[in-house]
C-alpha cells in the first residue's frame, strides 16, 4: 500500500538517462569497461614507466660508463671497466658484508616476527587485535632518524642497556660478546651487533604484517587436523604452519632483505667505519664523484634481489598465493 502511494504514476520499464555529460560518460563506461580501466591505469603507468623505469635505465646506462681518473670527468663510452673496479677485493668485501647482514637480519626478523604474528592471527581478538596493529605500526609512524638516534643512546657505553646489565650483574656477558672479533667493538653502538639489532628493529613490522596475513588465512582446523592425525606441536609447525606461512615469510623477507641491502643511514650512525653498499653508493656519487661506480654498486642489490625472487619462486613460495 505504501509502495502504491509512493508510485503516483506507473513507472516505465526503462528509466530515462540522467542526461548531460556525466550521464553520457557513465553509460559509455558501463558499455566499455576497458575504456575506464585504461583511463585509470594511464597516469600510474606513465609515472612508473617514464620516471621510475626511465631513471633505473639511466642508472644502468651510467654503470657502463667510466670515469677519467685524472680529470674526474665521465667518459661516455661503453666499457666494463667500472664493473672491473666493482670486483676489487675492497668492494667485494662491502658487498659480502652487506649481503651477510641482510641475510642475518632477515632470518632474525622472521624468527622474532613469527610468534608475534602467530599470536595476532590465532589468539588476538577485538581490542587486543587493535592493540597489536597499533604496536606494530606505531614505530612506522615516527621518524626513522629519531628511532635510530634513540637506539644509539640505548646501545651506547653509557646507555641504558649497559646500565641494566650492570644492575643484573650480567656485564661480563656483554663484555664477552664485545670482545669477539667482527661482531664486537668498543660498545654495542659502534659494533656490527648494534647495526644488526637496529636493522632488525626497524624492519620488523615489514616482516610481521605479511606473516600475520598468511597465518590468518590458515584455517584453525588444519592445526587440529594435524594434531588429530598424531602430529606433535613441533611436527604441526614444520609440516603445516610453516609451509602455509612461507609465502608470508618470503613476502616479508623481500622487504627486510632489500631494505637492508640498500640502507645507508643505519650503518652510518650505528656500527663500525666499515662500509655497506648504501654507504658506498652515497660516498661514490657524493665526495668521490664517481657516478659510474656508484651506479654499478646500485646494480648489485637489484641483481641479488632478482636472484632472490627467482629462487623463492622455484622454492614454490608463491604457489599458495
Amino acid at each position: 500500500m505504501t509502495i502504491a502511494a509512493v508510485q503516483s504514476k506507473p513507472a516505465p520499464a526503462i528509466l530515462p538517462g540522467s542526461g548531460g555529460m556525466r550521464g553520457a560518460f557513465s553509460d559509455l563506461f558501463w558499455r566499455r569497461p576497458q575504456l575506464l580501466l585504461l583511463l585509470m591505469l594511464l597516469p600510474p603507468v606513465l609515472w612508473l614507466g617514464i620516471v621510475y623505469i626511465g631513471s633505473l635505465f639511466a642508472l644502468l646506462l651510467q654503470s657502463f660508463f667510466s670515469i677519467d681518473e685524472f680529470s674526474g670527468l665521465i667518459n661516455r663510452e661503453f666499457t666494463l671497466k667500472t664493473y672491473g673496479d666493482l670486483f676489487q677485493a675492497a668492494n667485494l668485501d662491502i658487498i659480502l658484508r652487506t649481503v651477510t647482514m641482510a641475510a642475518l637480519v632477515t632470518l632474525a626478523a622472521a624468527v622474532v616476527a613469527f610468534p608475534i604474528a602467530y599470536y595476532a592471527a590465532r589468539y588476538a581478538r577485538g581490542r587486543w587485535k587493535a592493540l597489536f596493529y597499533l604496536g606494530v605500526m606505531l614505530p612506522l609512524w615516527s621518524s626513522y632518524l629519531v628511532k635510530i638516534y634513540a637506539w644509539k643512546l640505548i646501545l651506547a657505553k653509557e646507555g641504558i642497556l649497559t646500565w641494566l646489565l650492570a644492575k643484573l650483574n650480567l656485564l661480563w656477558l656483554l663484555d664477552g660478546w664485545l670482545s669477539l672479533p667482527i661482531v664486537g667493538g668498543n660498545s654495542l653502538s659502534v659494533s656490527f651487533t648494534g647495526t644488526f639489532i637496529v636493522f632488525v628493529y626497524v624492519w620488523l613490522p615489514f616482516m610481521i604484517l605479511p606473516v600475520q596475513a598468511a597465518l590468518e588465512r590458515v584455517p584453525g582446523n588444519l592445526v587440529e587436523a594435524s594434531s588429530d592425525l598424531g602430529a606433535s606441536p613441533g611436527q604441526t609447525f614444520r609440516n603445516v604452519l610453516f609451509p602455509l606461512a612461507l609465502p608470508g615469510i618470503v613476502a616479508g623477507s623481500i622487504f627486510t632483505f632489500s631494505l637492508t641491502l640498500g640502507d645507508y643511514i643505519i650503518p652510518q650512525i650505528i656500527g663500525t667505519s666499515r662500509l655497506f653498499i648504501g654507504q658506498a653508493v652515497y660516498s661514490q656519487q657524493g665526495t668521490a664523484g664517481n657516478i659510474p661506480l656508484a651506479a654499478a654498486f646500485t646494480v648489485v642489490p637489484i641483481v641479488i634481489m632478482g636472484f632472490y625472487l627467482w629462487g623463492a619462486k622455484r622454492m614454490g613460495a608463491f604457489d599458495a598465493l
Partner: protein, 332 residues
C-alpha cells in the same frame, strides 16, 4: 566388555555456558553411534572431548578403558573427519592421506602404498597426485575419510561429514559409510543434526539438547517411543499432545506423541474421531503433509500422495489407533 568410549558425568563449560552438562555415555566397540541434536546442543563439543580438542571441566572420559583427560589429541588413537574436511591445501591427495603415517615415522614407500590402498577403499584410486582444491565436495569428503582410516583408529569421529553434500550424494555416502563401518568393524561416532541420517545409519542414537542427553536408544526406540516432548518433536517432528488431550484417549494424564503418518484423515461426515479443520497441504512427492487444527491444537498428518483430500478450510475427522498414541515419561 570395556566400552569404546565412556563418559562419566562429563561437563564442559565455557564461562557461564554449559556446552556439555553432566553427560553419561557408553559407546560399545564396533558400534555405529550417532549424536543427534540441534546446533548448540553440545553434540559437537562431545565429539571434540573424545578427540581431545577440548578437556572436560568435570567428570571423566575413558577410551577403551584408558583415562583420556589431559591426553593431547596426538596421543589418542582416535581420528576425526572434519565438517569441512580440513584437508591440507599445500599437500597433494596422497600426501594428505599419508600424513598420519608420515608423522608417525612410517617409511615413504610403505606409507604411500597404504595411502593408495586407503584411497581405493573410498573408491578414489589414482587421485593421489591431485590437489584438494581440484576435487569436488564429495571427493574431498572421501579423501578426509581415507586420511582418517589409514591410521586404523580405534574410534572414528565424524563431525557432520555429509552436511555440505547435495541430497543425492548424501544418500550414496550414507550407504557407503554404513557398509564401510561393517567391513572395518571400527567404532564410528557420528554427529549430525539430520534426524533422517541418524535414524538410517546408526545402531544407537543419543539425542542432545542444551548440553544434556535427552534419550539414548536404537533408532526405533527414539522414533517410536520418545521419552520427552523435545525428542518427539525433534526426531521426525511428531505431534506432541497435551495431557488433557491424551487423557481422553488413554485415560492417563500424561504428555503423548503421535506420528503424523499414524493419523488418518476423512471427511467430517463419518462418525467418531477428533474433529478438525484442514488448514494447509504441503506436497512432498511420495507423501502429502497436512496441517490440521483440532479446536486450537495444531496437528500434522502425513498421507500417501494421491489420497483424495477435502479442500483447505473444510472440516475433517481424524482417527488413529490407540496403540500408535505413545505416552511419554515427561511429567505432565
Amino acid at each position: 566388555m570395556t566400552s569404546a568410549v565412556s563418559f562419566k558425568q562429563v561437563s564442559r563449560h565455557f564461562g557461564s555456558v554449559r556446552a556439555v552438562d553432566a553427560v553419561d555415555l557408553e559407546i560399545a566397540p564396533g558400534e555405529f553411534f550417532a549424536m543427534l541434536g540441534p546446533s548448540g546442543s553440545g553434540k559437537t563439543t562431545c565429539l571434540r572431548l573424545i578427540a581431545g580438542f577440548e578437556q572436560p571441566t568435570a567428570g571423566s572420559i575413558s577410551i577403551f578403558g584408558e583415562r583420556a583427560e589431559g591426553v593431547p589429541p596426538y596421543r589418542r588413537n582416535v581420528n576425526t573427519v572434519f565438517q569441512d574436511y580440513a584437508l591440507f591445501p599445500h599437500l597433494n591427495v596422497l600426501d594428505n592421506v599419508a600424513y598420519g603415517l608420515m608423522v608417525k615415522g612410517v617409511g615413504k614407500a610403505e606409507r604411500l602404498k597404504a595411502a593408495e590402498e586407503a584411497l581405493s577403499l573410498v573408491r578414489l584410486p589414482g587421485y593421489g597426485a591431485r590437489r584438494p582444491g581440484q576435487l569436488s565436495g564429495g571427493q574431498r569428503q572421501r579423501v578426509a575419510l581415507a586420511r582418517a582410516l589409514v591410521n586404523q583408529p580405534k574410534v572414528l569421529l565424524l563431525d557432520e561429514p555429509l552436511g555440505a553434500l547435495d541430497l543425492k550424494l548424501r544418500e550414496n555416502m550414507q550407504e557407503e559409510l554404513k557398509s564401510l563401518q561393517k567391513v572395518l568393524g571400527i567404532t564410528f561416532v557420528f554427529v549430525t543434526h539430520d534426524q533422517g541420517e541418524a535414524l538410517s545409519m546408526a545402531d544407537r542414537v543419543a539425542v542432545f539438547n542444551d548440553g544434556r542427553i535427552m534419550q539414548i536408544g536404537t533408532p526405533e526406540d527414539i522414533y517410536q517411543r520418545p521419552k520427552t516432548r523435545f525428542v518427539a518433536d525433534f526426531v521426525g517432528s511428531s505431534n506432541v499432545l497435551p495431557p488433557d488431550f491424551v487423557q481422553r484417549y488413554s485415560g492417563q494424564h500424561r504428555w503423548g506423541s503421535l506420528r503424523p503418518e499414524s493419523i488418518r484423515v476423512s471427511s467430517a461426515a463419518s462418525g467418531d474421531g477428533v474433529a478438525a479443520r484442514l488448514v494447509g497441504t504441503n506436497y512432498l512427492g511420495a507423501t502429502t503433509r497436512l496441517a490440521l487444527d483440532a479446536d486450537g491444537l495444531r496437528l500434522h498428518a502425513m498421507v500417501p500422495a494421491g489420497t483424495a483430500l477435502p479442500a483447505e478450510g473444510e472440516a475433517v475427522m481424524l482417527t488413529f489407533n490407540r496403540e500408535s498414541l505413545h505416552l511419554m515419561d515427561e511429567p505432565a
